[in-house]
């Protein structure tokens, strides 16, 4: 198995506030890793360092052999598909324009762009005509599916998602969870996903990293979290999420 991400003694400070204490983390290719933890635990910060949106205060982040920095080349960024919290669709572009923005910049012709978009629309189960709409005209679930399409457009090696289902109503969320897992299984890509919802984490992950106050508390297969909690905090965190436990696991 090859390695997707290697983080060595990576930390992040914002002024006097330490968001992330020095930590090591390796993500193998093909893994479906979920970063979980309460608000302010540093999980989104960790993801932003992996995408290169922020620069680590110490240590280094590598993607394969390449060093990830905030000002790294655009080419490297395009090997990572990132779905920002809230979707981040550009409101002045139609769904299709959002999806094909980078491909167009890279000089793909119209035919190729449309073919790829159509293929992705099928994958994320979105009717083609929805692609003509502007983000404001999309439902929450549709907007998330378009964001996912945009992240997948250039067929990246890794998919990084920051709370992709955060702001959805329960029914839409449930539908999208089902579809998303199916998509992950079909694509067989490395996935790093941030959520605060344990049920969701258990549903998607083959590895869960639980974080608290900028440190990794537990790192391992989902079952370990329930059966072999690392400390009292993990037990409390698991207990606190009653409802999702009622859902069937993977």
């Amino acid at each position: 198995m090859t390695t997707a991400f290697t983080l060595h003694q990576v930390s992040k400070r914002y002024g006097a506030h330490t968001a992330l204490h020095p930590l090591d983390l390796t993500v193998e290719a093909g893994q479906r890793l979920v970063l979980i933890g309460p608000s302010g635990s540093g999980k989104s910060t960790l993801l932003r360092l992996m995408v290169g949106l922020d620069e680590a205060s110490t240590g280094e982040v590598r993607f394969g052999q390449e060093r990830v920095t905030a000002d790294r080349s655009a080419a490297l960024r395009r090997r990572l598909g990132y779905v920002v919290q809230g979707g981040g669709l550009f409101p002045h572009l139609t769904a299709l324009e959002n999806v094909s923005l980078v491909a167009r910049h890279l000089g793909w012709d119209r035919e190729r762009r449309l073919a790829r978009a159509s293929e992705l629309a099928q994958l994320v189960r979105l009717p083609d005509d929805v692609l003509e709409r502007y983000p404001i005209q999309l439902s929450g679930g549709q907007a998330q599916r378009v964001s996912l399409m945009r992240a997948l457009m250039l067929d990246p090696e890794v998919l990084l998602l920051d709370e992709p289902l955060g702001a959805l109503d329960p029914i839409t969320r449930h539908e999208l969870q089902t579809d998303l897992r199916e998509i992950f299984q079909r694509l067989q890509k490395t996935v790093v996903m941030v959520t605060h919802d344990l049920g969701e984490a258990l549903y998607f992950a083959d590895r869960i990293v639980l974080m608290r106050e900028g440190r990794i508390v537990q790192d391992g297969p989902p079952a370990d979290l329930l059966e072999r909690p690392a400390d009292a905090f993990v037990t409390r965190f698991v207990r606190a999420q009653r409802a999702p436990l009622a859902e069937p696991g993977p």
Binding site: R48, V84, F90, H105
Partner: protein
């Protein structure tokens, strides 16, 4: 979309075509009726002599005209010997006036024939009631309110030296427009004002002219001053002006002032009638139709607005982008354009005079500076106001900076930028009326003349089109918004 913005800016710039052909002789005049009439006389005499001449009327006070003459913005203007000796070249003995002027490259015609000295005037009833006959008598009434023309307040031979000479105790003194002073006097708001002894109003209102018992005011013989180079460049014009020497006596000047000011005869016609009666020459003067005047002024006004606004867009948007991208530079830029905005527009126009002289370009420069703030600020705010998740998305997608700017940031900021341009444009249309103060023409011209002649019709002839133009500009920008602002953003606002 950024391309559309550039196109817009370009179109605005091209809307004006300022063509400079062979430069005519430019005669200026000060901002009161007599000076405008004399300016007309000078222009028409020059034209009769076959010289291409034009009149920049009512440009401002003595300093503005003098500096414009020395700089060469204008070639000639009517002046008074007293003003030259007291104010422009103080310390010059009356005998060496011509030598002193020559040092500045300026020549002068012989006196035109009348002495328009300063005087202090009151309503006769008030003067009689208080027993005031001479300026010295004013000493006994320290409670009186005086209203003086702003120029009289500032001049070396004006209020300060008058006050010192007569030891006048009054402190309640305010500055106001010379033409408004008569109305203030008639309504009792002020007790005394400065007069020119050839003012038509002295007769019209039956004003009491106080005797200058200490002989404070010198002689103010009317002359034309002109750039000495005209003797070679346009000797015919100089010869024509010299013919005016001694031909206008006080009675003739008062009559001409009365015609223009009280009977609302255009100054050009007053001058042309005088030339016909005095020299038997028929000038080509024709009063322009109102429609023609409106059209000419609209063109001048639009040129002022279009060029200054176009330049402000071309400079303001990049400045705003810079301010958005570099916080340190941004603070400096916004502070600088903010400071410019705090300068009253009138002052900003006048600041331009020593730098750029008078006329269209200094006015454009002032309007340009004045138009910057809304555009720079809105561009900066439009860009920095873009949501963090959209910035992150653009960066994570791996779009280069210029593509992000053109495809993401500028379109997202376009409603704010356009709103800034609209604000600038509407303010600009209004402020451009002040351009007439420094000879830039436009709709401000009839407003100024209207104030001078107390002619409400004339004021409206400038004010109404200026207001209509502002409304049209506003409507045009609303229309433009539909073209420039991306559809997705307009839907957004429709829903909000």
């Amino acid at each position: 979309m950024s391309r559309r913005m550039w196109f817009l800016a370009g179109a605005l710039l091209c809307a004006n075509t300022a063509h400079a052909d062979e430069r005519p002789i430019v005669v200026g005049s000060k901002q009161f009726t007599e000076s405008v009439i004399l300016g007309e006389l000078a222009v028409q005499k020059a034209q009769l002599a076959g010289v291409h001449a034009e009149h920049r009327r009512a440009l401002g006070g003595t300093r503005i005209l003098w500096e414009a003459l020395v700089r060469g913005d204008i070639d000639a203007y009517p002046e008074y010997t007293g003003t030259i000796l007291q104010e422009l070249l103080p310390g010059t003995p009356p005998g060496s006036l011509e030598t002193a002027l020559a040092k500045n490259g300026v020549a002068v015609t012989p006196p035109l024939g009348f002495n328009n000295t300063y005087a202090i005037g009151m309503m006769p009833e008030v003067a009689d009631r208080l027993g005031i006959r001479t300026i010295s008598d004013l000493r006994r009434h320290p409670e009186l309110t005086f209203g003086f023309a702003n120029e009289f307040l500032d001049r070396a031979d004006g209020w300060r030296s008058l006050k010192a000479r007569y030891r006048l105790p009054q402190t309640n003194v305010r500055g106001l427009d010379h033409d408004l002073a008569y109305r203030a006097l008639a309504s009792g708001q002020i007790a005394a004002t400065d007069l020119y002894s050839t003012d038509a109003e002295i007769r019209a209102h039956g004003l009491k002219v106080l005797e200058d018992d200490l002989h404070h005011f010198p002689r103010y013989d009317a002359v034309l001053v002109y750039r000495a180079v005209l003797k070679e460049r346009a000797p015919e014009a100089v010869a024509a002006w010299n013919q005016l020497a001694g031909r206008i006596d006080e009675g003739a000047m008062i009559a001409m002032n009365a015609k223009a000011k009280l009977d609302h005869v255009p100054e050009g016609r007053v001058a042309s009638e005088f030339i016909a009666n005095t020299f038997g020459e028929k000038t080509g003067f024709v009063a322009t139709s109102r429609a023609h005047r409106l059209w000419m002024r609209a063109k001048e006004h639009l040129a002022l607005v279009a060029i200054s606004l176009g330049a402000a867009i071309l400079i303001g948007i990049p400045l705003g982008l810079w301010a958005a991208k570099r916080r340190q530079a941004g603070r400096v830029i916004l502070a600088a354009v903010g400071v410019i905005q705090t300068v009253p527009s009138l002052a900003l126009l006048v600041f331009m005079i020593p730098l750029l002289g008078i006329g269209t370009w200094p006015a454009i420069a002032a309007l340009f500076l004045y138009s910057l703030l809304p555009i720079v600020r809105n561009t900066q705010q439009g860009i920095t106001g873009i949501a963090g998740e959209l910035r992150d998305s653009a960066r994570a997608l791996g779009l280069p900076a210029w593509t992000t700017l053109g495809r993401i940031e500028l379109p997202l900021a376009s409603p704010a930028i356009l709103a800034g341009i609209k604000t600038s444009a509407v303010i600009n249309v209004g402020t451009a009326t002040l351009g007439a103060l420094i000879g830039a023409g436009g709709f401000g011209q009839p407003i100024l003349t209207g104030i001078r002649l107390a002619d409400v019709g004339l004021i409206l002839e400038g004010a109404v089109p200026a207001a209509v133009l502002a409304l049209i500009v506003q409507a045009l920008f609303d229309l433009l918004e539909r073209i420039v602002v991306p559809r997705g953003l307009r839907l957004d606002r429709g829903r909000a």
